[in-house]
């Protein structure tokens, strides 16, 4: 579904992505995690073609990312910060995107569950941050795309809406879609992810499925398992060394 091959990206002095290779398939919910500035958003933007990698290639559905923009019809993207033209009405935004995608069938579940039609007449500038986040989420799911990319989807949402969004993600996961998700709220990821990709300073520390991560760290809870990875640099490095040793022994999980 998405194939990332030896991608490098450098912003001036900072190596943001350092030799990233991975393959994501249908039915996976991949959690991209890592400290701030570890390159999560840059990786997502590279998949969307917003950032051009210095080296390496990315394919979505066997279509190279740097060519024809048509491959993006397979992707629904929910950005970290949703800002829309101030005077555009909510209804107009949906109308416009529908015209751009000219796709007949739409999935308006989230639209209804978030009660967005009631704010259709409101200009974007009057919406609260949370409501804008709901608009972004509804847009991402609107065209029933086979790939969903959600960048910090639950930031700024109230608990009830977070729950609605989580349930929607689970529903889509059951439809055998590929979902990429970044979040710092690990408890939100716990119930939905199948795979974890851990980035640190542009390096891919590991990419493996939840079961083996739980087994290797001896922690059932995702947050605790990840906390082990993130805690203290030295132990962290030792842990990763051991992990890599394991990984080479068991052959690459990719």
């Amino acid at each position: 579904m998405i194939r990332i091959e030896q991608v490098y990206k450098r912003f001036r002095k900072l190596q943001v992505l350092n030799n990233i290779s991975a393959r994501f398939d249908e039915g996976q919910v991949v959690a991209l995690i890592g400290p701030n500035g570890s390159g999560k958003t840059t990786l997502i933007k590279s998949i969307l073609g917003m950032v051009r990698p210095d080296k390496g290639t990315i394919h979505v559905h066997n279509q190279p990312v740097n060519g024809d923009p048509a491959y993006r019809q397979f992707i629904g993207y929910m950005p970290q910060i949703g800002r829309y033209p101030d005077n555009m009405r909510v209804g107009e935004l949906f109308e416009m995107i529908k015209k751009i995608r000219h796709q007949e069938q739409t999935d308006e579940d989230l639209l209804r569950q978030f009660d967005l039609p009631s704010v259709y007449q409101k200009p974007m500038r009057t919406l609260s941050g949370g409501t804008r986040q709901k608009v972004s989420a509804a847009l991402a799911f609107l065209f029933n795309p086979p790939v969903l990319i959600l960048d910090e989807p639950t930031a700024g949402l109230d608990p009830l809406s977070t729950e609605i969004l989580k349930e929607k993600i689970i529903t889509e996961k059951k439809k055998n879609k590929l979902i990429l998700i970044t979040s710092h709220v690990l408890s939100d990821l716990e119930e939905i992810t199948t795979h974890i990709l851990y980035l640190q300073e542009g390096n891919m520390q590991f990419f493996k499925d939840l079961a083996s991560l739980q087994e290797e760290t001896g922690e059932i809870r995702l947050s605790k398992a990840i906390a082990r990875v993130m805690r203290g640099q030295e132990t962290n490095n030792q842990w990763i060394d051991r992990l890599f040793a394991l990984e080479t022994k068991n052959e690459s999980p990719r």
Binding site: F11, K45, L48, G49, M50, V51, R52, P69, A70, Y71, R72, Q73, I75, Y77, P79, I81, G82, R83, Y84, P85, D86, N87, M88, E92, L93, E95, M96, I97, K99, I100, R101, P123, S136, L139, I149
Partner: protein, 255 residues
């Protein structure tokens, strides 16, 4: 392409700054024509405002609009749309909205009070300057990632074209006053769209008679069909080249 620009245009036309700008232009033009008995005198005063205010508003509004739309542009980039299409849609929408403001604010009064050759020259110059400075502003905005730097650059460009350039030209003319400079100043005027616009309109007015031999030479040139073609051509270049450069750099840019 029209789908995107149409919605962006709706958005900008409802923008308070654009509405205020339209009203300001309208009030100024209207009061000029009301206060001055002589239509061409009113046009002259209006000309000075158009030459200063239009480039400034086009530059500053366009850069601010670009930075405010940054996240929206990102969202559009995640749709199956090419980068060229997105940036040209944004450009088209900003251009059309600023032109609408100009035509409502200055166009309507001019057509009411002074619908002659000079009036039309003013409208032509104003429209060209709007398009030209929107292009230049897009280039400044696309090239600089930082908002403060982009707006600063736009202001600097305005200072250069509206104020500094004239000083430089005067200095050159003064230093080389012993030589025949008529042809050369013609070339210099092409290097600044504001100057070009000013000369183009001035020569449609009676006051050009006061400018002596140079004025006569200019009048001969700009009054003819070649002059109109020359002005339009140079304006077109001033609009197309920065736009082309900004599309090119937007296509390669990391968002």
């Amino acid at each position: 392409m029209l789908k995107l620009s149409r919605y962006v245009l709706y958005d900008i036309l409802r923008n308070k700054i654009v509405i205020a700008y339209t009203l300001f232009l309208f009030l100024v033009s209207f009061s000029m024509f009301r206060m001055e008995e002589n239509g061409s005198k009113a046009l002259l005063s209006l000309l000075n405002i158009v030459l200063i205010v239009l480039p400034l508003v086009s530059l500053v509004f366009t850069t601010i609009h670009y930075y405010n739309s940054y996240e929206f542009i990102e969202l559009m980039l995640s749709q199956p749309l090419s980068r060229t299409r997105i940036i040209l849609s944004e450009y088209g929408a900003v251009c059309v909205s600023l032109l609408t403001a100009f035509w409502l604010g200055v166009g309507v009064p001019v057509l009411l009070f002074a619908p002659d050759a000079t009036g039309f020259a003013l409208l032509f110059t104003g429209s060209s300057l709007t398009v030209v400075f929107t292009s230049i502003a897009f280039l400044a905005a696309v090239r600089s990632k930082d908002k403060a730097r982009g707006i600063g650059l736009a202001l600097l460009l305005w200072f250069y074209f509206a104020l500094i350039y004239d000083g430089l030209v005067l200095m050159i003319l003064f230093a080389f006053s012993d030589y025949p400079m008529e042809k050369f100043t013609l070339l210099l005027s092409a290097l600044n769209p504001i100057d070009l616009g000013r000369i183009f309109i001035m020569l449609k007015m009676d006051i050009s008679a006061l400018m002596g031999y140079t004025g006569a030479l200019y009048k001969d040139f700009f009054g003819s069909g070649t002059g109109v073609a020359f002005t339009s051509g140079i304006m077109l270049l001033w609009a197309a080249v920065p736009l082309w450069l900004s599309v090119r750099s937007f296509r390669r840019k990391d968002m």
